[in-house]
């Protein structure tokens, strides 16, 4: 239909009728998507909650029964679970720090007006975002291999020989953090760069007139202006890192031993390798609770400060 903007007045009764219709049309537009989310997301989660209160062992179904909160109790006294929780928290903090330090430095360098070629670097940085973590993980496993990896060859040709990134606990930990940061640092860098481009220029000009050093300008003017974006990005990257699975699975398989075993990996092993579904679902619910508390706290902090 053809529409033109005019100032023609409408009868009050007609407006009332239309308003009444709109009361329902909001639900009409919302319903299909909400239905999909409820059926596909909420129902499985509730089902998972129900399973977590049972012993559900697909490989040994004889003793399956309702056990109440026993699975949760067992998880909290399970050394492997607690160790994985600690590993996940350490890896998450380490990778978020690396991503932000590296990403912020890259964004600062890109933000300089006296350098050309921003677009080329930005194009390079967008590529890791487009590649599957699986391929990234396996590729780095080859490149870091102690016998024939190109990175190790590089170390050797520099005269450094005692490097075995994936075979030693510390090496495996650093590899997981490094490769995961390789995957996500470009995202943080591009994001912060885009945010820097959107900043109001006048405080920076005033600082230049006052003779502020570049370091002062960044610390005293730019960082406070970017605070809200930092909080949002930290939340996003923390939630994403906390669920890390693929890089761990293909790079170290949680090893050596269980040194780099993250919670997602442990839940996956329990659920889809040992088929002890009660244990897997209760562990995953503890993950959900931890993340919800973290997100709620961060959102609260954000609301207070903005």
């Amino acid at each position: 239909m053809k529409m033109s903007i005019s100032t023609a007045s409408t009868q009050p009764a007609a407006v009332a009728v239309r308003h009444h219709q709109r009361q329902y049309s909001q639900w009409f537009f919302l319903a299909p998507g909400l239905f999909v989310l409820l059926v596909l997301n909420i129902f499985p989660m509730l089902y998972s909650l129900w399973v977590s209160l049972h012993r559900l062992d697909l490989a040994d179904p004889g003793l399956n029964a309702f056990v109440g909160l026993q699975n949760y109790w067992a998880d909290l006294h399970n050394g492997e679970f607690l160790q994985s929780l600690g590993t996940t928290l350490i890896i998450t903090v380490a990778t978020v720090v690396v991503q932000f330090v590296g990403g912020f430095l890259i964004a600062l360098a890109l933000n300089r007006t006296d350098i050309r070629g921003h677009k080329i670097v930005a194009s390079v940085l967008i590529m890791p975002l487009a590649i599957s973590p699986l391929v990234i993980g396996i590729l780095w496993r080859f490149m870091l291999n102690a016998d024939y990896g190109i990175v190790i060859w590089l170390f050797h040709s520099l005269g450094i020989h005692a490097v075995n990134p994936i075979g030693t606990p510390l090496g495996a930990f650093l590899s997981v953090v490094g490769v995961y940061s390789w995957e996500w640092m470009p995202f943080v860098a591009l994001f912060l760069y885009a945010a820097m481009l959107g900043l109001d220029r006048s405080p920076f000009e005033a600082a230049a007139v006052d003779g502020a050093t570049p370091t002062q300008t960044v610390l005293r003017i730019m960082l406070p202006m970017l605070r809200q974006i930092f909080v949002i990005l930290v939340l996003l990257q923390t939630v994403t890192a906390f669920r890390m699975f693929t890089i761990v699975d293909v790079l170290t398989a949680g090893g050596p031993g269980t040194v780099t075993q993250t919670l997602s990996y442990l839940v996956w092993q329990n659920g889809l390798n040992y088929f002890t579904m009660g244990t897997a679902t209760s562990m995953s619910w503890i993950m959900v609770i931890i993340m919800s508390i973290f997100a709620a706290l961060l959102i609260k902090v954000l609301k207070f400060e903005v």
Binding site: M3, F29, L134, V135, F245, M287
Partner: protein
């Protein structure tokens, strides 16, 4: 004054060298993967490593044909594209309802949709595995389309909500005074204004689905296997098929890298909007 100029010059050089180093760090692994797909076995293991490939594209095509990688490519394509179309339709409708209607619970529902993003995939995979094996959706293409729809819908809705909130309400109000219905406002006023956002959000959704590993490895086995799972399959516990891995990995990443470069502008906007509007 001179020292200030020297300082500026020095920091400029440091910044350029830093960006060159950064570019090498992020570009080289991708080059190494694709060039290794074009190397003979002897060259793959040469020490010192050989940077340049020695085989043509025929080698890759041969590996793709021998391993029937086309089937997995097709699964990846149909699952990511079909789910993205469903997601875009549902997300646009939901965002329209949440941004163009002023009603009581809209903020609550919007926050609920966002909160779904916080759930770790593994938490929903275990119950989905149990449900899918029961109702016969395990290891099927429709099952995976459903999975990627549920995976992408919260983010897409949230992104779309951010874009729609930027459109002034006066536009629809004046159309409503003219007697336009909701569908007409959505089709003739909102949609033309969010075309670019649709492209960006669609690209993000296709990439997430195409690159997914955890859902695919958990919920497929034979008949709906995507490229990442097939790629992983070349590296068994005992047999490593290096050339096949490199070819399969390249087949997987090259379309997405090209897509990302073409849609670069939309993609950065889509990704940054998503986090900025909450």
């Amino acid at each position: 004054m001179i020292s200030a100029m020297v300082y500026r010059r020095a920091s400029q050089i440091v910044a350029v060298l830093f960006l060159v180093l950064v570019s090498i760090i992020f570009l080289f692994p991708i080059y190494w993967l694709v060039s290794s797909a074009l190397k003979s076995t002897g060259r793959l293991w040469a020490i010192p490593p050989k940077l340049l490939p020695n085989l043509g594209l025929g080698h890759v095509w041969h590996i793709i044909a021998v391993n029937h990688l086309g089937v997995f490519f097709w699964h990846s394509l149909i699952e990511s594209v079909a789910s993205t179309i469903v997601v875009l339709v549902l997300a646009t409708m939901m965002a329209y309802s949440l941004s163009r209607h002023r009603w009581k619970h809209r903020t609550g529902i919007a926050n609920f949709i966002l909160s779904l993003k916080i759930m770790p995939p593994i938490a929903v995979i275990i119950p989905l595995y149990l449900m899918f094996t029961t109702i016969g959706l395990y290891d099927t293409v429709p099952g995976m389309i459903i999975v990627y729809t549920l995976f992408n819908l919260p983010l897409a809705t949230w992104l779309m909500l951010g874009f729609m909130r930027q459109i002034p309400m006066e536009l629809d109000e004046s159309a409503r005074v003219e007697g336009a219905s909701d569908w007409q406002v959505l089709r003739h006023i909102i949609l033309p204004l969010i075309k670019a956002s649709l492209v960006g959000i669609g690209a993000v959704c296709v990439m997430f689905a195409w690159n997914d590993y955890i859902f695919a490895v958990s919920l497929t086995n034979t008949h709906a296997v995507t490229l990442p799972v097939a790629t992983e399959g070349f590296l068994g516990d005992y047999i490593y098929q290096w050339s096949s891995f490199y070819a399969s990995g390249s087949l997987e990443i090259v379309p997405m890298v090209i897509l990302a470069l073409i849609l670069q502008r939309y993609l950065i906007r889509g990704l940054s909007m998503g986090a900025l509007n909450n």
